[in-house]
């Protein structure tokens, strides 16, 4: 057994024959089959934990064609497709952990004073709200991914998930690439689930009569899931031929043996693939969970496993700050590579990237003081002209990030004007 420190490139990567390398523009194929499909709009989130090192993040210039800051440098190849937003804020509430809130409440549509029983301003997150509108057109209403490779279960569920159906009801992410793959493409697995759905639904209805109010809320989650699974089966069955035509194979390499960048890119490929093939239009990806004081290896970036969270609190030390900047740069590089893959996919006159909004963000700005003001926010793509790119949009201080969520939701075609503490849509968007 030789599973050790070899840095070889896998002979047969998962990417071959799928993802960015999928040769046929998928929509063309479908249209060729007579399907009346125009390129849909999609949205995806790329979440990095613990904030970013501030100085290296913020560009000196604003407006069009702004000069990229050191951390944003990796975006050069897609700079015409991106826009930067500054001065967007979140509100931290007392009583629960800052990092848990950063993760769990980043996309929340709750107002800061609207606390769940567990003490979080946590309601259905914006990705799920968007999926309520656009998710019924695709087999999967949304897709939640995570590159949490920690195995020590150190933190609670709030640190580890950004997507929620509601408080207490997490849209649990998948972290194993092969499981993502099977969920998307093993149609038979889904179809086999069909036969018992009526039976278990009847059992659930039986229970309804005897439960208390909180319990009913839990049972409702089950019934919702039964409905979702049912719809998935119906819709994925309709897409059976398309999916079979892809002829792609499951990743062979064990995800636990992947390098950090490889792992993130494989997950990125799966996300791109799901969006490209219109299996879903809403996706979120948590690159790493919040806090989690466990050393993690970043091959070829640092020699030894590092503690991201620990560093963020120690960034007054210039040496540490430099290291932190390297890590931010690494994450931005990963984001940029996924953007480039999206850009390489043609969709008629446009590219996949043109037809989507791919948002890079974090629930904290600086991790040092758990600050939630001026959150790092980049959007790649413009959802077919819905927002001005290649621009640094500097907003008035104290603009709620909820405004951005409203704008994104509107750009995705949702009729939403207000959520949480939002004060209106954001400048820079067409709608």
């Amino acid at each position: 057994m030789n599973i050790l420190k070899h840095k070889h490139i896998p002979r047969r990567t998962f990417l071959r024959g799928c993802g960015a390398a999928l040769s046929l523009p998928f929509l063309d194929v479908m249209q060729g089959r007579g399907a009346k499909i125009s390129a849909p709009k999609r949205v995806a989130f790329f979440y990095t934990p613990n904030g970013v090192a501030q100085e290296a993040w913020h560009p000196k210039s604003i407006g069009d064609n702004f000069a990229l800051s050191p951390t944003l440098k990796p975006l050069e190849p897609v700079r015409k497709n991106i826009s930067l937003f500054t001065n967007l804020d979140r509100v931290k509430v007392p009583g629960t952990d800052g990092h848990a809130q950063a993760g769990a409440c980043y996309l929340s549509t709750a107002a800061p004073d609207d606390l769940s029983p567990a003490g979080y301003p946590l309601r259905r997150t914006i990705d799920q709200v968007i999926a309520d509108t656009v998710g019924n057109l695709t087999p999967f209403r949304s897709l939640e991914l995570s590159c949490n490779s920690f195995t020590d279960n150190r933190e609670s569920v709030y640190f580890d998930n950004i997507s929620w159906y509601g408080h207490g009801h997490v849209a649990r992410s998948i972290k194993e690439p092969h499981k993502v793959f099977r969920r998307l493409f093993n149609i038979k697995d889904h179809q086999e689930n069909a036969s018992v759905l009526d039976l278990v639904r009847s059992d659930a209805k039986d229970l309804q009569g005897s439960l208390g109010r909180m319990d009913l809320h839990k049972l409702e989650e089950y019934l919702d899931s039964v409905r979702t699974v049912e719809q998935q089966i119906e819709r994925i069955t309709k897409r059976q031929i398309d999916v079979n035509d892809l002829g792609i194979e499951e990743p062979e390499k064990l995800w636990t043996t992947m390098r950090r960048d490889e792992y993130i890119q494989v997950m990125g490929d799966l996300m791109v693939l799901a969006l490209q093939t219109d299996l879903t239009r809403v996706c979120s990806m948590m690159v790493a969970p919040e806090r989690w004081d466990t050393p993690l290896m970043f091959e070829d970036v640092f020699e030894k496993p590092i503690l991201h969270h620990g560093w963020t609190h120690n960034q007054k030390d210039q040496k540490v700050l430099r290291e932190l900047e390297k890590l931010d740069y690494f994450h931005m590089t990963q984001f940029s590579r996924i953007c480039q893959k999206m850009k390489a996919i043609k969709e008629g006159e446009n590219t996949l990237l043109d037809n989507m909004m791919f948002i890079y963000g974090s629930g904290l700005s600086s991790g040092m003081l758990h600050e939630c003001t001026n959150l790092p926010t980049v959007i790649a793509g413009n959802a077919a002209g819905q927002l001005v790119t290649n621009r640094h949009h500097k907003h008035a201080k104290g603009t709620p990030i909820a405004n951005l969520w409203v704008s994104i939701a509107k750009a995705m075609g949702c009729s939403i004007d207000q959520i949480g503490d939002s004060t209106g849509p954001l400048k820079g968007f067409a709608v």
Partner: protein
């Protein structure tokens, strides 16, 4: 949650009427004889005696009480000393039941020095029980009784054991109490025993004015706490959580801070008891318990539930939750942990799977622990679509696994057609699966589903498998549902619900037939039946779940998995040089769990978690502690330790700086950072796990100190000095004053848990500090002594952890009366493990449910 007992103790102390406490030796608490035979002391349960060990006698027939006896061997002239405990003084008729065998010797037997047998010949050509000895009358004092057994010779016909000596076997000792029964001694009324003088609001306010208002008053409101705003007892009653908090910080002398004017001991006690009085008034008026949110089974519970429902030979899927890979040695019915056990652990990854699994059965993701609790809280356990998909698939893949038919014991009785009416099969199966009586409509649904599947597949077996697959994904199986529709304030659980709670608590599984039977008879709430069931369940191997699920989470042991002591500085932590993935250090996880299991199996005192004179280690792990420079002897780098199972042995510790949980390498390593110790992390662990007093989340400003202790040493400082320099900020100081000493005391252990006399740079280690702000200690031994001297503190913390686990929710102030009561009982029984479990099972919150109607 704090505490009458402690406050009463301080009060008594302040009145000057308590003498120095003589410490109880918690090692003397051992498993009692079975309840059904109160006069029998099983040989195999008698305390430690040199070479004596229990022997399973089932191979020789069914005559032995408890199916085993105590076996000893030695040379002529050798003696063995056995001990047993008698609860009360009196006159007893004592008789011995010995075993005879071909290689057994002749013995002189004395009880407390008095001759019992001058020459007892245990030789017999066949292995069997001797005639029960004639009773001899003894006057016994309460407490430990000693039996001396001396090997004086061997029968000429006897065969020498191993060619040199002889054996004896003792099945049991029978004691009949000859003292005439007196009228039952009246139990001291619990409330009277701890009566605290009532302190009125005016007096309390006067103390607060002197000592609290400066920071928590109208002028300055630190921590958003304004005590001056409370102008009457009624005001305090409205702020019961604040009163609770105040009582806690007074109790632990956390407030007022050290640099403020300190109240006298009497004032402190008065003020604390004022708050306690208010809390007691509150909880006696507000008996409504926090409702439990319906939870679903987590991955570990699901595995156990399916295993027990389908009577599988092993697990369904591999469970990283099982740290120790082997359960052969774990048999609580023996009342003894073996002296040595061969075990593996996850160090060696997937090759260390202990039992078979079903191929193709894919486990769903692990559920994460609540911040200060376990992973069984309903609010945090949901069923999103992807989990439902997993469950649907899992149910199918279990019954269709290629090994399944040989893996389940139900192949003949459930899956193969034998003419038995379908409903007669399905009804009991569904009852067991859903832990409740089966309604006709439900039964009809499953019958219809069966018939449809049978029609579709043409196979009885296939149809039954489909039914089972569906059952395993049904909300009635997955959720721990209780009928709360019309449950009011506080309603007794139904018998089925209580059975379900018990099975989850003790086995992380579903009730077995005996529990269901008690539920059907509606007798489970009867205290004696409930206790008997709990003790039976503790004696069952399935109670291993308490170690695998409860103890692992209580200790937060998972955190060790990804600990990475610096590879260059702590090469010994890794198995092979040049190989960072293989961590020898993960083997250390086994040690605290085996200690936990020994306390559970032998029914010892939970105080051994604080301090024990024994532990379990492999030879290599033992050398790791004792020979830090060469733990692997001469073995080279390639394979420095045995990569398969390891033999862990019970070892008596020579020094009190080891023993208990806090000083095990696993805990000490996971609370260190790669290049140095972290007194704060260690302190926070002790506060959370040992005292159930988790520190509040750190403030936003948490600058860290250098990551490498070499850099600190280069400044001529110790870590402690560096931290002190660092924590000058007032906002940090009050918390650190509380957490840090709990970590400093462990500074004499290096980042991977080995003892060190000095820092590497040569500086002395200062481990001194104060516990709860007032009791001084200078090292780990004294620290443990302080905890042992006020055992109720740790006992209460442990009880709170376990009660929260048993209920699947956080505790609230309304649970205080129950915790108080359990703590009193456990304390009176010196922390006996089974007393904790039994009292929790009998407690009001465990046996009752609360309606949810008024909730948000």
């Amino acid at each position: 949650m704090k505490y009458i007992i402690w406050i009463a103790a301080i009060w008594a102390l302040s009145q000057g009427n308590i003498q120095a406490i003589e410490r109880f030796d918690y090692h003397t608490v051992r498993k009692k004889t079975t309840l059904s035979m109160p006069e029998i002391y099983e040989g195999e349960f008698l305390s430690e005696a040199g070479k004596a060990r229990p022997q399973d006698m089932r191979g020789f027939g069914n005559d032995w009480s408890g199916n085993s006896h105590l076996l000893w061997d030695g040379l002529v002239g050798d003696s063995s000393m056995l001990e047993f405990e008698v609860a009360k003084a009196g006159k007893y008729a004592v008789s011995f039941q010995w075993t005879m065998a071909p290689d057994y010797g002749q013995f002189e037997v004395r009880l407390n020095g008095k001759l019992v047998e001058e020459s007892l010949d245990l030789f017999s050509p066949l292995v069997g029980l001797a005639r029960l000895g004639d009773p001899i009358v003894f006057e016994l004092e309460a407490g430990i009784q000693r039996i001396g057994i001396k090997l004086i010779s061997g029968n000429v016909q006897a065969k020498k054991f191993r060619g040199t000596g002889y054996l004896y076997g003792l099945d049991y000792i029978k004691l009949r109490d000859l003292t005439p029964k007196l009228a039952k001694v009246k139990e001291i009324k619990e409330a009277d025993a701890f009566k605290i003088p009532e302190v009125d609001f005016v007096k309390a306010q006067a103390i607060m004015k002197r000592h609290c208002f400066r920071c928590h008053g109208a002028n300055k409101v630190k921590g958003e706490i304004n005590l001056e705003a409370l102008t009457s007892r009624a005001d305090v009653l409205k702020e019961v959580d604040l009163a609770h908090h105040a009582m806690e910080v007074l109790d632990k002398a956390e407030m007022p801070p050290e640099d403020e004017l300190q109240p006298s001991k009497a004032e402190r006690v008065k003020l604390a008891s004022f708050f306690e009085g208010v809390i007691n008034e509150y909880v006696s008026a507000n008996t409504r318990l926090e409702p439990v949110v319906m939870r679903r089974l987590n991955r570990y519970e699901y595995n156990n539930a399916v295993r027990d429902l389908l009577e599988l030979r092993g697990d369904i899927y591999p469970l990283p939750e099982k740290v120790i890979r082997s359960s052969e040695y774990f048999d609580p019915s023996t009342g003894r942990m073996p002296k040595a056990m061969s075990v593996g652990n996850r160090t060696l990854g997937k090759f260390q799977v202990e039992r078979q699994i079903l191929s193709g059965a894919d486990p769903f993701a692990i559920d994460l622990q609540a911040e200060h609790g376990f992973n069984n809280q309903g609010e945090q356990l949901s069923i999103p679509p992807i989990l439902l998909e997993s469950l649907l698939k899992l149910g199918r893949s279990i019954v269709s696994a290629p090994e399944f038919d040989g893996y389940t014991a139900l192949t003949e009785t459930l899956f193969k057609e034998n003419g038995q009416p379908l409903v007669d099969r399905l009804r009991p199966f569904l009852e067991k699966a859903f832990r409740s009586p089966v309604k006709d409509a439900t039964l009809a649904r499953y019958v219809a589903y069966f018939l449809a599947e049978q029609k579709l597949t043409g196979s009885y077996t296939m149809a039954m498998k489909s039914v089972v697959g569906a059952v395993l994904a049904s909300p009635k199986f997955i959720y721990v549902a209780e009928n709360k529709y019309d449950a009011g304030d506080k309603t007794q659980t139904s018998d089925y619900e209580l059975a379900q709670r018990l099975a989850l608590f003790l086995w992380s599984s579903i009730p077995d037939e005996l529990l269901l039977d008690s539920a059907r008879k509606a007798e489970l709430h009867q205290p004696n039946i409930l206790e008997r069931q709990v003790r039976r369940m503790l004696n069952d191997r399935r109670s291993r779940a308490l170690s695998e699920n409860f103890a692992r989470q209580w200790l937060r042991l998972d955190q060790l998995i990804t600990a990475v002591p610096d590879f260059d500085r702590f090469q010994v932590y890794y198995s092979r040089i040049g190989c960072e993935q293989w961590k020898f250090g993960l083997q250390t996880m086994i040690e605290p769990l085996l200690l936990f299991e020994s306390v559970q199996v032998e029914d010892r005192s939970i105080m051994l978690f604080v301090d024990s004179n024994y532990t379990y280690r492999s030879d290599e792990l033992h050398a790791w502690y004792t020979k830090p420079n060469a733990p692997f002897d001469k073995r080279g780098n390639r394979s420095r330790f045995n990569t398969f199972t390891q033999t862990f042995r019970k070892r008596h510790l020579r020094t009190r700086r080891e023993g208990g949980l806090m000083t095990t390498a696993a805990i000490l390593t996971m609370t260190a950072t790669p290049l140095r110790t972290s007194p704060i992390k260690r302190g926070a662990w002790v506060a959370t796990v040992i005292f159930n007093d988790p520190p509040p989340p750190p403030p936003d400003v948490i600058p860290e100190i250098e990551a490498d202790d070499a850099e600190i040493a280069a400044q001529g400082l110790t870590i402690r000095e560096r931290l002190k320099q660092h924590a000058t900020d007032q906002t940090c100081a009050s918390c650190h004053a509380r957490i840090d000493p709990l970590g400093f005391v462990l500074e004499s252990f290096d980042p991977i848990g080995r003892w060190r006399d000095n820092y590497r740079g040569g500086r002395d280690i200062d481990t001194s500090g104060k516990l709860f702000g007032e009791m001084e200690f200078s090292n780990i031994e004294e620290f443990k002594d302080l905890i042992l001297d006020q055992p109720e503190k740790f006992m209460r913390a442990f009880i709170e952890h376990m009660l929260s686990y048993a209920l699947g929710r956080e505790l609230k102030i309304t649970d205080k009366p129950a915790v108080d009561r359990i703590t009193r009982r456990v304390k009176a029984d010196h922390g006996r493990f089974s007393t904790v479990v039994v009292e929790i099972a009998k407690s009001v919150p465990f046996r009752h449910k609360t309606g949810q109607a008024e909730l948000k």
